[in-house]
């Protein structure tokens, strides 16, 4: 053919478009001369060889199709080409007279000489013209789709409403187009700075992309989003999608949001906490900003509520009907109870107790199979209440799918990896049906198209908040009517559908009208604190759309006062305003600030960031034995939080070695996204703390060397190129779902091949040095770091403490109960480390010590009692403690308790009226309490000095770091004190006769100086009796017990001499000892010297409390580091020895 075509082409020499022999496609094809003709596609350009077509492959495909079409329509002979003059005359007809485009010969790289070349050029023009038409239609289709949205007919209504009122409510069902169109309408109306809030980050990003596309600005920044850690906003941005939380933060900074001329609050019907808060704030804002326009958008749920709320502002309502196809409704309650009971016993081996019965769901699927042929497309969406329920149903449907093989089962819930969630949007192959089993995430947040059948269990799991025990509860409820209707509506988005309700119509009628707003279901502390810090004088008068119970507000205010975030007059304190600045739970904010007085906060930042993200361990991490095994070596005895940090460290080390972390995470069952979040969050904490001067800016000055800089430079260029490429890539397209089994691994490999953009981002941000710093901050192998961190965690979590049940010692793993002050009988979450290794929380037999004779109560006596501090309390099937750490009980209680009561001999201490410590070893209570008071006051005065400095905008004094490192060491010493005691929970009966309620004795009133805290003036405590001796401690208010009196009597017969100086007392008198304590010359000499770094190497200037020294039962002896000898000495002799040793040196 090629030879023939050459002769056919003939006439090679001619120039111009003269009459030459014609090309006949029967024996000629341009495709055979690709190599030779390609040059003709090029334009003149500085870079030689710039093609006129976007995609040459596509062009050659077009050539092939064009030739085929010409041949098949009987026009194989290409007509001679016309010159420009001929093209504008109507006669005679020529196809090319329809082409409204010309090539610009001057700009072409080569001239077309031969007929083949000229015809090829012409074909190029035909192609370009075709592409023009294609692109034009793309824009037109886009506009048509916009015009066809239900909201489009209300554009004018909206405009008029905005002209006459400052508040407009747009109510329309999902799919009416309000979220994408209303911001654009506002832009068209002339608003140039529009903020649109969204409850979810994902929605911000996807709406931004969509609206930018519709404004034909995919590659510009007129439309932008701003979410935590990420924003695309520039100076030229006109429409901004922002999360509710972030807009609230902006409000706190720039009180009036002057940067916006229109504010859209979307999805307000969801009634989440931030949404409700924003409604109230914007209501106030309207007064301050007369030109601001406010648009509220909601589904058609309870619209009257919003309309009524903004009535006095003259709110206008624009109601947009949704676009729904008819949906057939069928009530299919599960068969009668007896039948179910029969089944349940049969299959009860596998499904224990409360698991749901998946049979009704499978029955509906089989009903669909019977009544609807698979040739009719349409997928199934099943709503159940939670992840466990999803698992049971998925399992059952998969079993069913082994017979009816056209089913593809896909779970969908918020705990999944994002890529996994994405699968529900893929297409099922012809003749197959997807069966998506979902939580209520698919009710409003995620929209899956192509669903024809909805199966509604009618159940939802909802978090509720129990203010009395400060715990959250995840419980299953019937959904509300409006939720049930939303679920139903999901069947009619793309065509007529069917909704199967697995309950009766009567049950439906008994449902609540609307779901409970979040404000009734979560703690209010962060929100109220934010309100006060925004300058609201009295939170009680805040215009809530639906106010929470007054009692809860009062409780929250009280808790804020206890945390010292609010003053007694309910004004914000320096601590409070710093807390409000931190975008985290109060407890985490507090530990960050408490930690700021210490010289090193690096690890604390990492730990706090880890606490603030969702658990990185997926469900699979606990169910898949391979994951469990892989993780085992990194498990920490200190609890899950510490395990997570060591996993994070491992991850960072992989990053440092430039290995793939994605695979590693998958192998261990870790959701990698969370680790990226930890990194970002940590950086945010650091920035905030640095910007408000709480910590010294990190000396990232550890400069890279020249060679390192060069490598880094090369790396950055590479990474930026990757990033650019990704930015201009098309978003993930919907794919055809692969047919079950085995597909999983393939897909994972698919994923593996693409660039890991999160990794690229990460590497762009962190060079090798920074990475090393980060890695160091996740190192927790020094014991003293762990102790301090646990202490800081405890300071934040307090008063969330739990104590083990007294009978735990004789029980197995499943029955280890714990009690908090407000709620008894809690458990460790079964996946937690402490649930599996519960012996860590128990006293070992070797920890039990013999009791002094006069101590008669039966409570175990030990130096090793532990308490749990927990992050939260969550009730699902059972009440669980979440994120526990274990701490030495007495020390922790004395450092953090709000109220500490003691008797005259300091042998009994009661903390917060629920935990009692018995300290029958002479002097131990005094030592512990005095030191605790002293440390605690120093710690808080350091913190307040720092906060005060900030308020006065002063540089923190240089001496602080010295003082704070001393404090650090002394805290560590304090935590390591070995004191033997018993701990018990007080019963209501105990509490009744706890206090003496007697005025302090004359001897006490005669005290000239407060022996616990010199600068705290003592007052009588009228309620409990005794004396207030510090902010938190009441001395001598506890009524004496039999054993304390016996102990007192026994001791009185002995004399006492001070262990640090020559001071002696004839009689063992606690009060006299207390008075002596601050004056003791030995103590003063050893007191405030800063100590060298490590505990282990500390020899001199070490406080007397070397491990076990305060314990008379100890038989360990004393090892002197200075003279390298082991000695059997009493306490006082040890001190003397130390002195001598040092003097000798």
């Amino acid at each position: 053919m090629s030879r023939k075509s050459k002769t056919g082409a003939g006439d090679e020499g001619g120039k111009g478009y003269g009459r030459r022999s014609q090309l006949n496609l029967v024996d000629f094809s341009f495709l055979d001369r690709k190599a030779e003709l390609s040059g003709l596609l090029q334009a003149k350009s500085r870079q030689v060889g710039r093609s006129l077509v976007e995609n040459e492959c596509d062009f050659w495909k077009f050539v092939g199709k064009y030739e085929a079409m010409m041949r098949s329509t009987g026009q194989p002979v290409l007509p001679p080409l016309l010159c420009e003059e001929e093209l504008v005359t109507p006669q005679p007809y020529h196809r090319s007279k329809h082409l409204a485009l010309r090539l610009d010969g001057d700009e072409m790289f080569q001239e077309a000489h031969t007929e083949v070349q000229a015809q090829f050029r012409h074909l190029l023009l035909v192609y370009l013209n075709f592409r023009q038409a294609e692109k034009f239609q793309r824009i037109r289709k886009l506009r048509q789709a916009q015009r066809n949205l239900p909201i489009a007919r209300f554009r004018q209504d909206l405009r008029e409403a905005l002209d006459t009122s400052r508040v407009v409510i747009v109510a329309g069902d999902t799919g009416c187009g309000k979220s994408t169109q209303v911001p654009q309408y506002l832009y068209d109306f002339g608003f140039r700075s529009i903020a649109c809030t969204q409850p979810r980050r994902l929605a911000c990003v996807s709406l931004c992309k969509r609206v930018a596309h519709e404004l034909l600005d995919d590659y510009g920044s007129r439309v932008a989003f701003q979410i935590r850690f990420e924003r695309s906003r520039t100076q030229s941005t006109n429409i901004l999608f922002i999360t509710e939380g972030l807009l609230l933060r902006q409000l706190a900074v720039a009180a009036n949001l002057d940067q916006y001329d229109a504010l859209i609050l979307d999805e307000i019907h969801e009634r989440n906490l931030f949404g409700d808060f924003l409604l109230g704030v914007t209501k106030c804002l309207l007064r301050a900003r007369p030109q601001l326009k406010l648009i509220l958008m909601s589904a058609t749920i309870n619209v009257e509520l919003f309309h009524g709320y903004f009535r006095e502002e003259g709110a206008r309502l624009v109601q947009v009907p949704g676009r729904l196809f008819p949906i057939k409704l069928r009530y299919l309650p599960p068969p009668a109870l007896e039948l179910k009971a029969g089944q349940a016993t049969a299959s009860s081996k596998r499904s224990q107790g409360a698991r749901i019965d998946p049979a009704p769901f499978v029955q509906v699927l089989s009903l669909i199979d019977q009544q609807y042929p698979t040739s009719e497309r349409g997928d199934v969406l099943i709503f159940v209440s939670g992840v466990n329920e999803i698992e049971s149903v998925v399992e059952a449907v998969q079993e069913y799918a082994t017979q009816q093989t056209h089913w593809l089962v896909l779970p969908l819930h918020s705990g999944q990896a994002i890529a996994e969630q994405g699968k529900v949007f893929d297409y099922a192959p012809e003749g197959w049906r997807k069966c998506i089993v979902s939580t209520n995430i698919a009710e409003t947040s995620l929209t899956v198209d192509g669903v024809r059948f909805v199966v509604d269990s009618g159940k939802v799991k909802e978090m509720s908040y129990d203010a009395t025990c400060k715990g959250q509860r995840l419980k299953e409820f019937w959904v509300s009517k409006s939720s049930a209707e939303q679920r139903k509506g999901r069947a009619g988005r793309t065509g007529p559908g069917v909704c199967f309700r697995l309950y009766t119509a009567d049950q439906f009628n008994a449902f609540e009208a609307y779901p409970t707003p979040e404000i009734y279901r979560v703690p209010l502390d962060t929100m109220l604190l934010q309100m006060v810090s925004m300058g609201l004088p009295d939170v009680r008068v805040f215009p809530f759309i639906e106010a929470p119970e007054t009692e809860r507000i009062e409780q929250t205010i009280l808790a804020l006062k206890q945390h010292c975030a609010l003053s007694v007059e309910e004004k914000i304190t320096p601590l409070g305003s710093s807390l409000a600045n931190l975008p985290v739970e109060l407890s985490i904010g507090k530990m960050l600030l408490m930690g700021c007085v210490f010289p090193e906060v690096e690890q604390l930042l990492t730990l706090a960031a880890m606490l603030s993200v969702q658990n990185p361990l997926t469900n699979r991490a606990h169910t898949d034995q391979r994951c469990v095994r892989e993780r085992q070596s990194l498990e920490s005895d200190q609890g899950d939080l510490f395990t997570l940090v060591s996993l994070y460290r491992e991850w960072l080390q992989l990053k440092m070695r430039r290995e793939s972390t994605r695979q590693w995470c998958r192998r261990l069952g870790i959701e990698e996204q969370r680790f990226y979040e930890v990194t970002k969050l940590r950086q945010q904490f650091q920035r905030i703390l640095e910007s408000c001067g709480m910590v010294v800016a990190s000396s990232s000055g550890s400069q890279l060397t020249g060679a390192e800089r060069a490598t880094r430079h090369g790396e950055l260029r590479q990474l930026k190129a990757l990033k650019r490429r990704q930015r201009f890539e098309q978003p993930r397209q919907r794919k055809l779902l692969k047919q079950q089994h085995g597909a999983q691994e393939e897909e994972e490999q698919d994923e593996e091949q693409g660039d890991d953009m999160r990794d690229v981002d990460f590497r762009l941000r962190y060079d090798h040095r920074q990475l090393a710093l980060l890695e160091r901050s996740a190192r927790l192998d020094r014991h003293r770091d762990v102790v301090l961190l646990k202490l800081l965690l405890g300071s934040g979590f307090y008063p969330q403490l739990a104590v083990g049940d007294e009978f735990n010692y004789c029980k197995g793993g499943g029955q280890q109960f714990f009690h908090t002050r407000l709620k008894p009988f809690l458990l460790q979450h079964p996946n937690s480390h402490f649930a599996k290794h519960y012996e860590l929380l128990k006293l070992a037999d070797s920890d039990l010590l013999p009791k002094p004779d006069f101590y008669t109560p039966k409570h175990p006596f030990s130096e090793r009692h532990q308490l749990l501090c927990y992050q939260s309390l969550l009730e699902t099937a059972k009440p669980y403690l979440i994120n526990c750490i274990r701490l030495p009980a007495a020390q922790t209680l004395l450092l953090f308790s709000f109220s500490i009561d003691t008797n005259a001999g300091i042998t009994q201490i009661v903390c917060d009226g629920w935990l009692g410590l018995d300290l029958p070893v002479p002097g131990s209570g005094m030592e512990l309490l005095s030191r605790a008071i002293e440390l605690r006051r120093r710690w808080s005065s350091l913190l307040y000095a720092k906060l005060e400095d900030l308020n006065n905008k002063q540089e923190s004094s240089s001496g602080v770091s010295d003082v704070s490192s001393t404090l650090w060491h002394e805290l560590l010493d304090f935590m390591a004190l070995d004191v033997a005691y018993a701990i018990r929970r007080l019963l209501p009966a105990d509490i009744k006769r706890l206090y003496s309620r007697q005025e302090p004795s004359a001897k006490l009133m005669d005290l000239k100086e407060n022996p616990f805290a010199v600068d705290y003036s003592m007052t009588a405590n009228e309620e409990k009796g005794g004396l207030n001796v510090s902010e938190h401690v009441v001395y001598n208010c506890l009524a004496e017990q039999q054993w304390t009196m016996a102990m007192d009597a026994a001791l009185r017969t002995e004399s006492w001499h001070c262990s640090r100086c020559d001071f002696e007392l004839d009689e063992f008198d606690v009060l006299q000892q207390l008075v002596h304590r601050p004056q003791c010359p030995g103590r003063k000499a050893q007191g405030r010297k800063p100590k060298p770094d490590s505990l282990v190497t500390t020899t001199d200037a070490h406080p007397p409390a070397t491990p076990r020294s305060s314990n008379p039962n100890s038989s360990g002896g004393y090892y002197c580091d200075t003279c390298k000898r082991k000695l059997q000495l009493t306490k006082i002799d040890i001190l003397r020895h130390q002195q001598q040793c040092r003097d000798k040196k």
Partner: protein
């Protein structure tokens, strides 16, 4: 930078003066005003009311590569492609939305329902007027187009 050659002049002061003025004039204007990447020309189809902002009206858009139009067209930069570096061009980085009817000068878009091209752009009414003088092939094609667009509207 043609100015480079002009700089070699005797009267430097005058030259500086001359160069200064335009700069001062420019100052108050918004830099965005000069950004040729922003669409500022209104395009409104008289047939279907399609309304877009375009970057260029004429025959040879500066951002196009080696093509031109036989008549004045409303042309926008291709929003579906990543933009080339500023002042550069790129393959197929242009979309013509429409032109003026060669008879009545109404603006019409490229949709088959609004305009017809045969040697020049015609709006549908003018095209129907004009078609008697055309070869039968062109007449057939216009009729087909009319029928199809009517079908579409139903």
């Amino acid at each position: 930078m043609e100015a480079d050659e002009n700089l070699v002049l005797d009267n430097e002061a005058a030259e500086i003066e001359r160069m200064k003025l335009p700069q001062e004039e420019k100052k108050p204007t918004d830099p965005e005003e000069e950004d040729e990447r922003i669409a500022r020309i209104d395009f409104l189809c008289s047939g279907c009311e399609m309304h877009e902002m375009v970057h260029y009206f004429g025959r040879k858009p500066p951002f196009s590569l080696a093509i031109k139009y036989p008549e004045d067209n409303y042309v926008m930069r291709d929003p579906f492609q990543p933009p080339p570096p500023r002042w550069h061009t790129k393959a197929e980085y242009y979309i013509s939305l429409g032109a003026k009817c060669s008879i009545c000068a109404k603006t019409v878009c490229k949709d088959p329902g609004c305009s017809f091209y045969y040697t020049a752009t015609f709006c549908m009414p003018c095209g129907q007027e004009k078609l008697k003088n055309w070869p039968v092939e062109a007449q057939a094609r216009l009729r087909k187009q009319l029928a199809a667009s009517k079908e579409d509207k139903k």
